[in-house]
Amino acid sequence: MTDDATRTLGKGSPAPGPVSEGLIRLYSMRFCPYAHRTRLVLRAKGISHEVININLRNKPEWYFTKHPFGQIPVLENSKCQLIYESVIACEYLDDAYPGRKLYPYDPYERARQKMLLELFYKILGYQNTIFFGGDCISMIDYLFWPWFERLDVYGIADCVNHTPALRLWIAAMKQDPTVCALLIDKNIFLGFLNLYFQNNPDAFDYGLSC
């Protein structure tokens, strides 16, 4: 069980108290890819932390004092300092905490990593049309799709609020007859993954009736 396997706080929930010294708090949601970044860095650096999951469809009123628009992730430390935007939060953790540095020391190598991240955003934002290649589905959409179909199985619906173009693209892709015809059933896929991670050779035949 991971450290963030707690129920979300929603409207009407009492505001949490201050963060104890020696800890940092992360406001998160278990399926959000942006918050996931921050959880990865916290773990990689061995930083003592607590997680409060927020119900993104039913946000607690007090949460808007942590983030003006109620977004996640947000870090809060024992000095009541708040840091938001996932990339900023990750860099803050790397700077503020000792141990293994995740960003390289060399300024050029640091810059290279940041340029790569911009490339990633450019991919996401490369669309000014519904599909990556234009107004109709084409090769590039099929080349990207398998990864997004799998992410979709984990339910990122609430998190593509940051990237409305991507949300639209996922919806448009699901209407394509080819994509539709080959869509993996969520339960079967999860069943496969379950067995796969147990190194069970039967994983590959999961869901077949014959």
Binding site: Q81, E85, I88, E91, D95, A111, R112, M115, E118
Partner: protein, 241 residues
């Protein structure tokens, strides 16, 4: 070579040679606000550099080997390392060169500057949109949107009770957003700071900074450039030379 008053290089121009040791090169364009960020930081930190201006309406083929996106600014050093994306170039210069640090050393204060930078993120595209609009109604809509974005920065200054966005002295965040405020007068957008008195004071304080004032371009020259740029003229980037 001086700081950026050379004719731009266009299609058919010979690619420049390697960057001499002890210098860093910036590929720029005299009127580009993004490239201005990098030039402000180079100047503020006293970094020895050379400028190659690119004709953005007639780009040289070799330029895409420097930046596949074909955009300025781009930094190139004597080791042949290339850095692009304006904010990344600025941070690289602050880290790689000695002297006054423009970004705070404190991790939280540094994060704060980056969060303020996010607050500014919608402004460049709004200003570009405004520049391209002819219709009066559309223009007033964009002005309203700009005022909303400026309000966010006003709030930062009000809460911090300091002259500059990072504290009592000028720092990275101020240089990163300045180029767009420099252009407000030429675009007749000065009224957008009428209801943000702290931001107005900030602009006045910025104009007094020696680095900022050394790179200032007058209203007439900006307008001459905008006029040609909107017509997609290949002469735009060299206006005034």
């Amino acid at each position: 070579m001086s700081g950026g008053s050379a004719m731009s290089l266009g299609k058919g121009s010979a690619p420049p040679g390697p960057v001499p040791e002890g210098l860093i090169r910036v590929y720029s364009m005299r009127f580009c606000p993004f490239a201005e960020r990098t030039r402000l930081v180079l100047k503020a930190k006293g970094i020895r550099h050379e400028v190659i201006n690119i004709n953005l309406k007639n780009k040289p083929e070799w330029f895409f080997k420097k930046n596949p996106f074909g955009l300025v600014p781009v930094l190139e050093n004597s080791q042949g390392q290339v850095i692009y994306e304006s904010a990344i170039t600025c941070e690289y210069l602050d880290e790689a060169y000695p002297g006054k640090k423009l970004l705070p050393e404190d991790p939280y204060e540094k994060a704060c500057q980056k969060m303020v930078f996010e607050l500014f993120s919608k402004v460049p595209s709004l200003v570009t949109r405004f520049l391209r609009m002819q219709n009066k109604e559309d223009r007033s809509g964009v002005k309203e949107e700009l005022r909303e974005e400026f309000n966010k920065l006003e709030e930062v200054l009000t809460n911090k009770k300091t002259t500059f966005l990072g504290g009592s002295s000028l720092s990275m965040i101020d240089y990163l957003i300045w180029p767009w405020f420099e252009r407000l007068e030429a675009l007749e957008l000065n009224e957008c700071v009428d209801h943000t008195p702290n931001l107005k004071c900030w602009m006045a304080a910025m104009m007094k900074d020696p680095t900022v004032s050394s790179l200032l371009i007058d209203v007439k020259t900006f307008r001459g450039f905008f006029n040609l740029y909107l017509q997609n003229s290949p002469e735009a980037c060299d206006y005034g030379l």
